[in-house]
Subunit: 443 residues, 2 copies
């Protein structure tokens, strides 16, 4: 039997009956699409409230012993509307009664939230005539609430043995005590990836409402080109910085197996979308740069100490101080007598001052200070690895746009260069980088 | 009374009587040159052995009870030759008898070595008719053998109070027990700097056999231009990498006082040489780049670990491992899932493998490897701070020369950019960087 394709549909792809019809067409368009992972219904219109959010409100009202009937009605309306629109005769009341019963017995917020996917899975399985499998039988978490890969890939995998076609709701699984545990927001992407690994999929199709990733943020760059192919590694470098179409952990289950992920558009299924593959599969057609991403609001702590690298405990002491404040170190460019600690935007100014005080006492720097409002921009592309002209093109572009470059870091990952600039230059810099590479030519 | 100028003369400036005559002319050319720090006589001809080296051999032979008369004769010949050439009537035998007496009483290697400067100081003081002051009365070390700034700048300073003109030999001082302690090789530069600070000099002239620093290594670049002005900070960034005309700690005593150092050529005293000043004194005429230096044979340990910066103990553990191996960390470029440790050329390959083994056990990376034979090149210049075009020019130059850039680090010191390349590309890269900046123009 041919290897299956796992298809995951996002909330907007399942927001209403019209979307359900598109989904059915897609699934039936390829007989290999045998495992389907649905999200909860998303918004049909921008002003809609998502079902998952309604479920959270329902749980709040219920526990506060407030009137929840209106909210429950809204949720029912969404599902009944879908059922009616796709011509499905199903009485959903027993399902809702069950939810209320569980709530009465003290069900968790995570249980309530997971019902969005659960009910959508029920509808979709009947509509497609696929077996319904509750992910509680497949996806497991340990007592600490961390994903339990070992149990999932043994016990969960056994459950899918011999299953021909199934709908498996996304977003959640089971704790050792059988209770529902959810992934973080967007976690249905992870479910699809885990299922892909379990069934040894040839491809994991992730259906959304966009035709894949764009080279740059469309809110900054006017109509940026799309990314047709990207490696797992490149995607990691990009996802880190910018808003993400795909949950940033979704690639991990499939990376080691080399299962490609195809980001597709439910509303434009003929678009090729973005294919996420391993490095080897990028082939010769890998473009010069793959994408540009960035983030504002970093803080840089700047330390001067003569011959700091000859004080062999210096770096360890610095790192211990950051650890004691529970701080993520993002980057650490250094020179002979100075070092910069780039920390992220979650660190408030008073804490920065406390950290500096500790560094003064413990590391005895000659001078120390900090700068706020630094943006980091990362330019990503396997194509730059063997092209000495990449940096030249990048910095020529930035120079022409009169952007003052404050930091440059390259050399750890071979697929990207990171530059630091003032927050005020951020949008101009992103545009300048995009322009320079789109107009440039790879040597 | 006008602030004095401290003048230090290197070994080649005092190698023979002809050089002594030039030194006298220089000292007498400006009445402010009131404090003179001599090195031991250097080589008159390339095949000569330096007096300091002869003194080391003398000490070896003496302690091994071997015949040392020939070596002693050679040393005497140097000094008597100088005395004779400059028309000085002096019987040096009592001085040599004293050295042999001290050796008989178990004098240290450092004592013996210091006699080169001592005897030169005796000759020069008589020749100039300046007071001779033994640096044992001025420059102090603590029991651990570290320079004792506090004692030097109080007790040593008192000794020079009211002294009008003096010759003070370089290179050594006294331990708390009164025994001689020397600085590391080239330490007379440090003596001159310390004396400059003590007497509140307006200028510290460091007389050598070259007319200052060159922008790039003349063994690589054909006739590079000279550096007319450089800041302390820029010099630090350059001295680190390349061979040095000035002891790399010599700037520290004068930096805080803002005393400029002028590197001058005894054989071409009219040449302006290189002036080392504080940043503020660089003025508007600071050129785009000041210098280029580099070093080969770095090792890069490359570590991949997904979301390493969210493992808050990761960096501290890495640093602790390096510390346990007594390793200097030079630089640490990082990306989202990877980090590179750049360590210097003193680390042998078996130790690199041991370090990697420890990192595997303690930090549990997804993958780890290392690359040898990486060169670092630093391009230094205050002028680049506010010039976004510097990087563009640099990388355009490297691209044209087809140099593959493996690492870039900028952002800690604002006065330099560091690039990493393969050792095989080193000379070509230095030439390419020199050419591109000499032919370019500052925007």
């Amino acid at each position: 039997m041919e290897k299956p394709i796992v298809v995951k549909f996002g909330g907007s792809s399942l927001a209403n009956s019209e979307q359900f019809k598109k989904v059915k067409n897609i699934v039936e368009g390829d007989s290999r699409r045998r495992f389907v992972v649905p999200s909860a219904p998303g918004k049909s219109y921008p002003d809609d409230t998502k079902v998952t959010d309604l479920l959270y409100i329902l749980e709040d009202l219920y526990k506060l012993e407030q009137d929840y009937s209106k909210v429950l009605e809204n949720i029912k309306t969404v599902y009944n509307g879908i059922a009616e629109g796709i011509g499905l005769t199903i009485d959903l009341d027993p399902y809702f009664d069950e939810i209320l019963k569980e709530l009465g017995e003290g069900a968790s917020k995570e249980f309530t939230a997971s019902r969005g996917e659960y009910l959508n899975g029920i509808l979709l399985s009947k509509y497609l005539d696929y077996e319904f499998i509750d992910p509680k039988e497949i996806i497991f978490f340990d007592t600490k609430g961390n994903f339990d890969a070992e149990m999932t890939y043994t016990i969960g995998a056994k459950r899918l043995d011999g299953v021909e076609k199934a709908v498996i709701p996304g977003f959640y699984g089971a704790l050792p005590n059988g209770k529902v545990k959810t992934f973080s927001r967007g976690g249905s992407d992870l479910t699809g990836s885990i299922i892909s690994r379990i069934v040894g999929a040839s491809l994991y199709e992730n259906w959304t409402d966009v035709s894949g990733f764009l080279i740059a943020d469309p809110r900054i760059v006017h109509k940026p080109k799309g990314i047709s192919k990207i490696s797992y590694k490149e995607l990691r470098e990009l996802s880190y910085m910018g808003a993400s179409i795909l949950h940033d952990e979704a690639i991990f289950p499939v990376t080691s197996e080399g299962i490609p992920i195809n980001i597709k558009n439910t509303n434009a299924p003929e678009d090729p979308g973005t294919l996420i593959v391993d490095e080897e599969s990028l082939g010769e057609d890998s473009t010069w740069i793959t994408g540009i991403a960035g983030r504002k609001n970093f803080t840089v702590i700047y330390i001067e100490k003569v011959k700091l690298n000859q004080d062999k405990g210096f770096h360890r002491k610095l790192m211990s101080i950051l650890e004691s404040y529970d701080i993520y170190l993002e980057h650490m460019p250094s020179s002979i007598d100075s070092i910069s600690l780039i920390i992220n935007d979650n660190v408030e100014e008073p804490m920065v001052k406390d950290i500096i005080q500790d560094i003064k006492i413990i590391c005895k720097p000659d001078s120390i200070g900090y700068t706020k409002n630094i943006s980091l921009i990362t330019v990503v592309g396997h194509g730059m690895k063997n092209t000495s002209g990449t940096s030249a093109t990048l910095f020529t572009g930035l120079a022409k746009a009169d952007i003052n470059v404050k930091l440059i870091i390259q050399g750890s990952s071979e697929v990207n260069i990171i530059v630091g600039i003032a927050d005020d230059d951020y949008e101009n810099a992103i545009r300048a980088v995009y322009e320079t590479f789109m107009n440039g030519h790879k040597e």
